[in-house]
């Protein structure tokens, strides 16, 4: 029983953290341009400052 007192809050906290992360990601437009993100890794970044 004493294990549960620790494990259940822990499980809930982790779940809530995941949920909060998803909400954060959505609010910050992380899912706005999924195809673009896949393409961007192919861009050479030598003259990124230009």
């Amino acid at each position: 029983m004493s294990g549960l007192a620790l494990l259940i809050p822990l499980a809930l906290a982790m779940g809530l953290a995941g949920l909060a992360m998803f909400f954060w990601a959505m609010r910050n437009d992380q899912f706005e341009d999924l195809d673009g993100a896949a393409q961007r890794i192919l861009i050479d970044d030598e003259d990124e400052t230009g």
Binding site: M1, F22, M26, E32, D33, G36, Q39, G50
Partner: protein, 707 residues
């Protein structure tokens, strides 16, 4: 400032954000090219590409106007358009709301399931009671948040004394939650929190899929909105000009239309000679020569030289507005179409409600007490709750439209797939639909050098014939010759210097051929003839449709002889010289005969017919309004996506019906258990997930359908 209507001004820094639609972005190179190319420009602080939406947001100085930026895009090799407004904002918000609700219900489902499993595996006494309390603590806020889309829709339906799929869902979820709360308070044995939340999760998944499918295709189509002129330069009494909004133009005003500008109202040319591009109105890209006395319509683009136009019809009286009105009326019949899920729920909802009520009454008569009777009635509601039903349609349609998208066909929504599956006669427009609608040059008589010079000259111009030459030569991998001092003389052509001799590409003198250019190198000159060929696979498509039992016909506004020639070539019936109103009448007549016609067309003159047809498809080169009116848009030079769309639509409906079949079989098996009072929360949960998995798995088979 008027040019920056869509911009968001930032008063502190003097910088503004302007959004552009750039449909031509296809690869990582394009992203880099645009972001760096624009970033180097004076006055541009940053450019950010959204590849999925094919949009570019530019943060730039107030002094830089949108036209200059569009020109800069062109210099980089991309066609860009000012994004006037975001017509998708509404849909986007809806999807976000659904995704949030889905995430919340997913979180709730996982945690409650964790607690439920321990109850099922035999936790008793204080532990069970504590777990029920914990579940309640999670479930109540989750249901209150994630259930909103269903509660709102069910409430709407009930207020108008109708019933939809959301009514049994809402009643089931609310009753199950309420009952479980009661069980928890009284220390009862069974709590259905897991069932209620799982139900919400699966149903939200179906809704989110449906919304995603709509958004994805609409962003592709919405990108092409709004090409009609928004302003005009009105010539004042003192000879100066003033910019006036399209809505404030009046009949009889004199308007100056610069080369490259779109007309904002109908009128008659008073002064000037030029060519106009009427593609918006007719879908035909061949420029139309105009001179004093010619009638011109709103939406046409002036290609060559400035024109002075006396306005004859403005705002709601223009030809474009008239067609828009026809389309609006024609489209109403389609909005009356009842989707298959709603048809199913009309039968389903009353049946489920009756069954639950009967179960309650039956057990009351049997004398088990109101508590036990209510538990059984709720079990009936939960077990019959249309989990599989809610997924049956969207899962299949999302997979099918994804497969079609890969083959170059964008289907706007699920209802379009359902209607496409039903059609039994296909009507084709000719120009731009059966044919490519782009003039293709016959380059046979030209040698390598002449081709290289022609390409060098043609690629600097945006004249449709030049674009045709450029496209044809780029395909055959010819490198442009190095031609210097290139200049374009509106109405005459393009000239330059090549290896010390003057070269020119311009209007052919042979007045007979309407579509011809003349290429001159030094004192040699050759004539390039243009034709508008049939799409390569037009005949195959007609044959495929025939094999599916669909009769094809041509219905076109083009000359009767031109239409007859194509009709004979394809061996189908053809009718030429048909006005937009008559096209509409033909469709109404077919519908009155009990046929379900498919309309395939591109011009604005096809717009009313596209809106009135049972289902409609437009090519990607079609006028904006036609793409808006059509159910699906196909891209590329092949017509085959049209036949493919119907094949896949029919397969999809077969899968949807199978899915409904599964849902019915599942109910037939589960309902007796529920009625007998043998459904525990565990059985309800397992049955629900199993039926959903079967439906999703069956729908995934469609991924191979289009290949």
């Amino acid at each position: 400032m008027t040019a920056h209507d869509p911009s968001l001004a930032d008063s502190d820094t003097g910088l503004i954000d302007t959004r552009f639609t750039v449909p031509g972005m296809r690869c990582a190179g394009c992203i880099a090219k645009i972001e760096r190319g624009l970033g180097e420009l004076d006055g541009v602080e940053a450019a950010r590409v959204n590849f999925s939406a094919k949009r570019v947001a530019v943060r730039h100085d107030r002094s830089l106007d949108a036209a200059a930026l569009v020109h800069e895009f062109e210099r980089l090799g991309f066609e860009a358009e000012l994004a006037v407004e975001n017509p998708l904002a509404q849909d986007d918000r809806e999807l976000r709301k659904l995704l949030r609700a889905l995430a919340v219900s997913g979180f709730g489902m996982m945690n409650i399931m964790l607690l439920s499993v321990s109850v099922w595996s035999g936790a008793g006494g204080v532990t069970r009671e504590m777990f029920h309390w914990l579940s309640a603590l999670i479930a109540v806020p989750v249901v209150a948040y994630a259930g909103q889309p269903f509660f709102a829709s069910a409430w709407m339906a009930l207020r108008y004394r109708r019933t939809n799929m959301d009514v049994p869902i809402s009643i089931g979820v609310l009753l199950a939650t309420g009952m479980s709360l009661y069980e928890t308070l009284t220390g009862g044995e069974h709590a259905y929190f897991d069932g209620a939340v799982m139900l919400l999760f699966f149903l939200l998944a179906g809704r989110a899929l449906d919304a995603m499918m709509r958004n994805k295709t609409r962003s592709g189509i919405g990108a092409l909105l709004g090409r009609i002129g928004k302003h005009a330069s009105v010539i004042q009494a003192d000879g100066s000009t003033a910019r006036v909004d399209a809505g404030e133009l009046e009949q009889g005003m004199l308007v100056l239309v610069a080369a490259g500008e779109a007309l904002a109202a109908d009128g008659v040319v008073e002064m000037g000679t030029s060519s106009i591009d009427n593609a918006m109105l007719t879908g035909e890209s061949t420029p139309e020569p105009v001179c004093a006395g010619s009638e011109v319509h709103a939406g046409a683009v002036n290609l060559m030289a400035p024109l002075t136009i006396r306005l004859t019809a403005v705002a709601q009286d223009t030809a474009v507005a008239e067609i828009a009105r026809l389309m609006d009326e024609a489209g109403q019949s389609r909005s009356r179409y009842v989707r298959i899920a709603d048809r199913a729920s009309r039968l389903y909802a009353p049946a489920v409600h009756t069954l639950a009520v009967l179960a309650f009454i039956g057990w009351m008569i049997a004398g088990v007490g109101w508590h036990q009777s209510l538990v059984i009635a709720i079990a009936v509601l939960i077990i019959t709750c249309p989990c599989a039903m809610g997924l049956a349609v969207p899962a299949a349609q999302v997979v099918a439209s994804g497969a079609l998208l890969k083959r170059g066909l964008l289907v706007k929504d699920g209802s379009a797939l359902e209607r496409l599956a039903e059609i039994d006669v296909a009507l084709f427009d000719k120009t731009g639909t059966l044919t490519l609608g782009e003039p293709r040059p016959d380059l046979g008589p030209l040698d390598e050098e002449e081709k290289a010079v022609a390409l060098a000259l043609a690629q600097t111009s945006r004249h449709p014939l030049s674009l045709g030459i450029t496209a044809a030569l780029k395909d055959s991998a010819i490198a442009p010759a190095s031609v210097d001092a290139i200049s374009e003389e509106p109405g005459q052509g393009i000239s330059g210097m090549f290896c010390g001799q003057p070269v020119a590409l311009g209007r052919a003198d042979a007045a007979g051929a309407s579509l011809a250019s003349s290429l001159a190198i030094g004192d040699r000159s050759k004539t390039i003839l243009f034709t508008d060929p049939l799409r390569d696979d037009a005949a195959d498509v007609v044959a495929d449709l025939d094999a599916m039992g669909i009769e094809s016909r041509i219905i076109s506004g083009d000359r009767v002889e031109a239409v007859d020639a194509v009709a004979i070539q394809l061996a189908i019936a053809g009718e030429g010289g048909v006005s937009p109103g008559e096209k509409l009448a033909r469709l109404e007549q077919l519908k009155a005969e009990g046929k379900l016609p498919l309309m395939v067309g591109d011009g604005l003159n096809d717009g009313p017919a596209l809106a009135a047809a049972h289902a409609s498809i437009a090519p990607g080169s079609a006028s904006d309004a036609s793409q808006q009116a059509a159910d699906a848009v196909f891209v590329g030079a092949r017509l085959m996506p049209v036949a493919l769309a119907i094949t896949v639509a029919r397969q999809t409906m077969r899968i949807v019906r199978q899915n409904f079949g599964f849902a019915v079989i599942y109910n037939v098996l589960a309902v007796p258990l529920a009625l007998a009072g043998m459904v525990t929360p565990m059985i309800a949960s397992i049955a629900m997930s199993l039926s959903s998995l079967v439906v999703v798995g069956n729908s995934l088979r469609l991924a191979r359908a289009a290949s």
